[in-house]
Structures are given as C-alpha cells and as structure tokens.
Amino acid sequence: MAMDETVAYKVGTIYPGYSIMVIAAVLGGLLGIGGGAFNVLGMNSFMKLPMKVSSATSAFLIGVTTVASASIYLLRGDINPLVAGPNALGVLAGSIAGSKITQHLNPKTIKKIFIPILLYSAVQMCWKGWWM
C-alpha cells in the first residue's frame, strides 16, 4: 500500500454496501454533512476498497449525488447566495488542493487525518441531538 504503485483490489460485499450507502445518504441529506464521511467508511470497511479508491470515489460520487438534494434546497429558496458564494469558492479551492495532495500521501496518513474529523462530527451530532 504505497505511492506510485498499482494496488490490485477486489470489490467485496456489494449488497451490504448498498444498505450502508442508503443510510449514509439519508443522514447526509438530513444533516447537511455531505455524507462523505459515511461513504468512505462504508466503502473502505464494508466493500473492502483501498483508502484512496474510497476517498476518490466518494468525492466523485458526492458531486453527482448531492445535486439531488442541492437542487431541492435551491428551488425552495433555502440557499442564501451571499452565504453560499464564498463557501463554494473556499470549498472548490480546498478540494482541488486536497485531491492534488492525496496523491502524495500514504494511505495510513489519510486514515489518521480522517479519525479526528469523524470524531469531531460524531461529537457535534451528539451535542446537537441532546443539548440543542
């Protein structure tokens, strides 16, 4: 599992993967967290895909699937352009940088970066669920 190397892999357990993705999508649509965290988790642990393949697929898929919920929010007038505009520019710059950086990183490092992000969103959701 290193850089500049072709890693052979097999896609395992597609059907449990399906159900994880449905749960991930519902939660992502409800909470507005994009669902990417669940996506990577589902693909990496349940479908046995390598880390880089999961994060690339997830990043790609989210662009396409978020259109489903984003278009509903936009048509309902829930998106304030003055807030969304700067956000979109920042996210675009960040995701371009991220996709370039990930090619030079060890999969283990990516996982280590991923852990605090998952922990943070878990704590935040618990907080929102119980105390707000």
């Binding site: 662009g63 396409v64 978020t66 259109v67 489903a68 919920s69 984003a70 278009s71 509903i72 936009l74 048509l75 309902r76 007038g77 998106i79 304030n80 352009p81 003055l82 969304a84 505009g85 700067p86 979109a88 520019l89 675009l92």
Partner: protein, 120 residues
C-alpha cells in the same frame, strides 16, 4: 477492464467537469467582487432571487446576488451535464449495462429537480 480506460471519453468528461467548475467559480467570484464594489446585493436584506426568472432578470439588471446565484446554479448543473454526457458515451461504446446505470442516475436526478419544484 477496457471500459475504465477508454482514454478519449474519460478526458472529455474530466474536461467537462473542470470547465463547469472554472466557469461557476469565476461567475461567483465576479458576483462577489460586484457585491464588494457596489456595497449592496441589489435586493432588500434577507431577500434573494429564487425562481429562474427572478435570477435571470436580476442577472440582466447586474444585481450581485443574482450573479452569485447563477454561479451556484452552474455549479449544481455541472455534475448533471457530466452524467448526461456519460450516458451518451456508454451508448457509443454499446455498453448497455452502464447505459442503464448512468441513465437511471440521470432520471433520478432530473426527477428530484421536478419533484422538488412540485412539492415546495
């Protein structure tokens, strides 16, 4: 494995996404520069264009909020166009299993657009 490395189509789809992103990012950027220069969104506070006609008329009147919304609409449309293009490419390759998969994704995306409009 051939279908995953069909060079031409892949680079065309990648170009499609990159063009959409650069286009929408520059439109949003122009809108934000206009917002800072003009000092107003062109609408009263907490009011912004929602329907396509509102966005379009606002765009013609060069209202910053409408320009930013146009950029956001372009950003949302980019993946939709990309899925549409991939249906065409798979049709060309006569890969009907993938035509079915991408086609159903496209139908789902367009139907949420229409349903989201209907059940406001």
């Amino acid at each position: 494995m051939k279908r995953f490395f069909a060079g031409d189509c892949e680079s065309c789809l990648s170009n499609c996404i990159q063009t959409g992103i650069i286009l929408s990012a520059s439109v949003i950027m122009i809108g934000m520069i206009m917002l800072f220069v003009m000092g107003t969104s062109g609408y009263p506070p907490n009011v912004f264009p929602i329907t396509l006609t509102q966005v379009f008329t606002g765009l013609l009147a060069l209202k910053p909020a409408a320009v930013i919304t146009t950029g956001i609409i372009l950003l949302i449309l980019t993946p939709l166009v990309r899925v549409g293009l991939s249906v065409i490419f798979f049709l060309k390759e006569k890969d009907f299993q993938y035509v079915l998969i991408t086609g159903s994704a496209l139908v789902l995306l367009i139907s949420t657009l229409i349903l989201g409009k209907m059940f406001v």
